[in-house]
């Protein structure tokens, strides 16, 4: 496709900033303490950026507003900085639905967006059309990124997989279309059920979709199983993005990256790290393995 967005080979993730660690609660708590101020997050983003890892794949967490504001204030420094927002930050919606119910939640999070303001009067009608509702919520989530580069916008796995399971498949093409029209962005879908999602996206007419899923050699959270994942990546037409490649540290870095980089159709690899050493080591390993494969391919 001519207008396809080129994605960087290496994307920087955000789990380390928000206390998400799939292996150790203690480690997660230490990370939460270390990154309690936005300045600590920005410091690490700067290290990544200066190391050539310029795309930040981040949850639309409340704290991103402060990070975005910092980038906006210094457009010269951050001229090549790219965000891939991943929405929604589900906790805030889940907590709000439990607290005040679905309708109040919609009002709460769409308030302030242009469309929301215009259509507040027609809230009753609009909320019964979930495609219009999706647009209101996307606008609410995108407010923080105004003026910044967001060429790919992802749906978080908890929402992708909820829609997948419930059979609300019509939301996927509507989202795909809306982010292209409104934000000039390509849609991406994060999932823990990659082969099953791909079946649905194809049926819904989304060609060559960007799909981000766990891809690691120990079969951690890869529903459908390792073999089916490998076959799907090899044979089907989509743009795979690999996350959880180290399975939260269960696989040594070199072994983990050999496995992922060895599957040549994987376009991008997301990883999170908190130190200069780890960021540069991961970058160098990916480049080294890629160079070896490229060399082998041309020989």
């Amino acid at each position: 496709m001519a207008n396809e967005t080129k994605m960087d080979r290496i994307l920087f993730g955000d789990n380390q900033f928000f206390g998400v660690n799939h292996m150790s609660e203690e480690k997660a708590r230490q990370q939460l303490m270390r990154f309690k101020d936005n300045a600590a997050i920005i410091e690490v983003l700067d290290i990544a950026y200066d190391a050539g890892v310029k795309t930040f794949m981040c949850t639309t967490h409340d704290r991103m507003a402060g990070v975005c504001e910092h980038m906006r204030k210094d457009p010269t420094r951050y001229k090549d900085f790219v965000f891939y927002p991943c929405m929604p930050y589900a906790h805030k919606y889940a907590n709000s639905v439990t607290e005040v119910g679905p309708l109040e939640t919609i009002k709460r999070f769409s308030a302030g967006s242009v469309v929301g303001t215009l259509l507040r009067g027609a809230m009753g009608a609009i909320t019964k059309d979930i495609y219009d509702l999706m647009k209101l919520l996307v606008d609410g989530e995108m407010k923080a990124f105004k003026g910044l580069s967001t060429p790919v916008i992802f749906v978080q796995n908890v929402v992708t997989d909820l829609l997948l399971g419930m059979g609300l498949h019509g939301v996927f093409p509507e989202f795909h279309k809306y982010v292209r029209e409104r934000y000039g962005a390509e849609a991406g879908f994060i999932t823990m059920n990659m082969p099953a999602l791909l079946d649905v996206l194809e049926k819904q007419g989304i060609e060559n979709p960007i799909v981000c899923s766990n891809i690691n050699k120990i079969d951690f959270r890869m529903c459908g199983g390792l073999e089916l994942y490998e076959k799907t990546i090899r044979e089907r037409r989509f743009r795979p993005v690999a996350m959880s490649v180290f399975a939260s540290g269960a696989i040594p870095p070199e072994e983990a990256l050999e496995y992922v980089c060895g599957q040549r159709r994987i376009e991008s690899i997301v990883f999170g790290a908190s130190s200069k050493r780890n960021i540069e080591q991961t970058r160098d390993l990916i480049r080294k393995i890629d160079a070896r494969h490229a060399g082998a391919a041309t020989r």
Binding site: A94, P102, L164, A247, A250
Partner: protein
């Protein structure tokens, strides 16, 4: 065979179960019941599922094999009883009821009707806790002398009084909504205590319910248990549950992510060596066919569907085991009231 399931209550848990049931190759959601007309109209319009405003009508007309109940706890008993009397299999969110007597009535009825009866204590499907139980019961720790269960999280971190979870009469509060998980998990790993020796239930921010529960348990064989739960601790991103077991041969600490086992000199067990051993969930958790929020949520639904298919009533998380958990919860409340 496709198991036709009706969902009662389309809140956070009900919707999550909806997706998991529907994604199961041998089950489908055929009907949904809720009190919110808005939620029902959206579900009907976009999924085509049959919707009902009352569970009686759904059970009578829905041509269902099973129902899944995810409503406030105070409503579980009438709904579960109605469904069992009409021969449906049942999955009920935790805790089963607010009264051990009612829970036992449901358990007896399910046995009489020969229907699968499962409760949503999903921790029993987490690999680290399953391994903790296996090790404790297999003798890795020698004689277990003490069990400590704790849970912390940020459910109520400011004054608030809306929603059923803040109302005692509907089953809100840290005891029935939070500590129940830990009590059930302690029962799963170490067996149920014989009595509750003392307890305190403490309000921190809530008006009508407690936000923290502390208790000491006595077991028939002389073991002691300690329960400590607080859902007003905002230093935890989400609910963090930990079980620690002390035994004559060592000590075991298990949470959602990892299992740490310390074995004393000359007490190596199977592949576990003397000193510290650590195993992670990445190694201990069995894979699932569809993942939404954690393998345990999918595994428990898979177990439910399999039990229906096989007719096996000796499955995990039966009403009988949950009635034991409800008995301990009631004893905690009594001990707290009496100031013992």
């Amino acid at each position: 065979m496709t198991v036709r399931v009706g969902i009662v209550g389309a809140g956070k848990m009900g919707i999550s179960h909806y997706a998991i049931v529907n994604a199961h190759p041998n089950a489908q959601v055929s009907a949904v019941c809720d009190t919110s007309g808005y939620v029902l109209s959206v579900l009907e319009k976009y999924t085509g599922v049959a919707t009902y405003g009352s569970f009686e009508k759904m059970i009578d007309q829905g041509k269902l094999d099973a129902i899944l109940v995810a409503t406030p706890t105070s409503t579980h008993f009438p709904c579960a009883k109605y469904a069992l009397e009409r021969g449906l299999h049942l999955f009920v969110e935790k805790p089963l009821t607010l009264s051990p007597a009612e829970s036992r009535t449901l358990s007896d009825l399910a046995r009489k009707q020969k229907r699968v009866n499962q409760v949503g204590f999903h921790n029993r499907f987490i690999g680290t806790f399953q391994e903790a139980r296996r090790l404790a019961r297999g003798g890795a720790l020698g004689r277990v002398t003490n069990i400590h269960g704790s849970a912390f999280g940020q459910v109520v971190v400011k004054d608030q009084s809306s929603g059923w979870r803040s109302k005692k009469s509907e089953g809100g509060g840290c005891l029935h909504d939070y500590a129940c998980h830990v009590v059930d998990l302690m029962n799963f790993i170490a067996g149920a205590p014989a009595s509750v020796r003392g307890a305190r239930m403490q309000s921190i921010f809530s008006k009508d319910v407690e936000d923290a529960v502390y208790a000491i348990f006595s077991y028939a064989d002389g073991r002691t248990g300690v329960l400590e739960t607080n859902w007003s601790d905002e230093t935890y991103r989400k609910m963090s549950t930990t079980i620690t077991l002390y035994g004559t041969n060592g000590k075991l600490i298990a949470d959602r992510q990892e299992l740490k086992l310390y074995l004393r000199p000359e007490c190596a067990f199977e592949t576990y060596v003397e000193g510290w051993n650590t195993r992670y969930i990445t190694d201990l958790q069995k894979p699932v066919a569809y993942y939404l929020r954690g393998e345990e949520y999918s595994s428990q639904i898979d177990a439910f569907v399999r039990a229906i298919e096989s007719g096996d009533l000796e499955h995990e998380n039966s009403f009988a085991s949950s009635a034991e958990t409800d008995r301990v919860l009631e004893q905690i409340a009594q001990a707290s009231r009496s100031g013992s």
